[in-house]
């Protein structure tokens, strides 16, 4: 199974609201970030949570988001601060809005 994204790719987190167990926090949904690392393929926690084996495995990525991207200045952070989180491949889409500073 080939990973869809590579380090440096710009991605956006989907805004789905499935009823079951997920590991994508709401505060990151719809936010744009950059792939920092590929942590390899893992069984899906969304299936494991219901006693299922969770295959086929899904790739998990470390995604970096700037603080301003998430909080738009409404927080206690310095301008260069960031959040990184592990996000599963099926929660990510390519970020096609490439205007603006990288």
């Amino acid at each position: 199974m080939t990973a869809r994204y590579r380090i440096g790719d710009r991605v956006v987190v989907r805004t789905d609201t499935p009823a079951g167990h997920v590991r994508t926090p709401t505060y990151l949904k719809g936010k744009r970030g950059v792939i920092l690392r590929d942590f390899g393929a893992w069984p899906s926690p969304e299936k494991l949570a219901y006693g299922k084996p969770g295959w086929p495995k899904t790739t998990n990525y470390w995604v970096r988001f700037t603080m301003d991207e998430i909080w738009n200045g409404n927080g206690s952070y310095a301008s260069g601060d960031a959040i990184v989180a592990e996000i599963y491949e099926h929660w990510l889409e390519p970020d096609t809005a490439l205007e603006g500073t990288p």
């Binding site: 590991r23 994508t24 926090p25 505060y27 990151l28 942590f39 390899g40 893992w42 926690p45 998990n60 470390w62 970096r64 998430i70 909080w71 409404n74 927080g75 206690s76 952070y77 310095a78 301008s79 260069g80 601060d81 960031a82 959040i83 990184v84 989180a85 592990e86 996000i87 599963y88």
Partner: protein, 218 residues
């Protein structure tokens, strides 16, 4: 609950974590429903030979042996052995494996704090923590307040811990949302040149390996 320890700015908190002494005795009789539930479930499972009292005791003792000093030893070795540090950063599981430690089923990722990046770990969704390396997480790490605020207010959270990071340094909040478990490799402070690993172990606090503290110069 007793409040034996005040661990503000206390670099030796791992020593305290190690001072187990007697188990915290059950000072009070069970009074809340969940305390009776714990007894009921345990007694039922023992009666039905699902668990034994001995296994429970042994598991408790196993975990009492896991404390932040384990992590401090990893840090001290990384500080004194650049080749080990490189291997540790490249593959945390293999790195700690060299010291006979394992983090089964999970990916241990060691994050180095540098002049340009300060990592701070949180699990906003629950309480994911590198337990095999640092032992049981502190109550504050699992609290609603830390989990909610760390990702939005890292600088004010750090200030509550007495930690100031210059604005020029990126504070990188690591939300542990999946199967990685993160251990911060704090910056080695000034004034420790030539120190042995044993000396260095004594100054590495648990909070510096979570990222809410730094290791101050001695």
């Amino acid at each position: 609950m007793s409040h034996d320890h005040d661990e503000h700015d206390h670099a030796h908190d791992h020593d305290h974590a190690h001072d187990h002494g007697p188990f915290q005795p059950d000072i009070k009789e069970p009074s809340e429903d969940w305390e009776f539930l714990e007894i009921a479930l345990r007694e039922l499972m023992i009666e039905k030979e699902i668990l034994t009292a001995r296994e429970i005791q042994e598991k408790i003792e196993e975990w009492d042996g896991k404390c932040p000093e384990v992590g401090a030893r990893i840090v001290a070795k990384a500080w004194t052995d650049p080749a080990f540090k490189a291997r540790l950063l490249a593959d945390g599981n293999a790195g700690v494996g060299e010291l006979g430690l394992s983090v089964p089923g999970l990916k241990l990722v060691v994050l180095e704090n540098t002049e340009s990046v300060h990592n701070m770990i949180v699990c906003t969704l629950c309480s994911c923590y590198p337990r095999p390396i640092l032992g049981l997480p502190p109550l504050w790490y699992k609290s609603r307040e830390y989990r909610s605020r760390a990702v939005r207010e890292p600088r004010s959270v750090l200030a509550e811990f007495g930690t100031q990071i210059p604005d020029s340094v990126e504070v990188r909040v690591v939300d542990s949302t999946a199967d990685c478990r993160f251990l911060v490799l704090p910056q080695r402070p000034e004034g420790t040149d030539g120190w042995s690993e044993d000396q260095l172990v004594n100054i590495v606090s648990r909070d510096s390996m979570i990222g809410t503290a730094v290791v101050p110069a001695p």
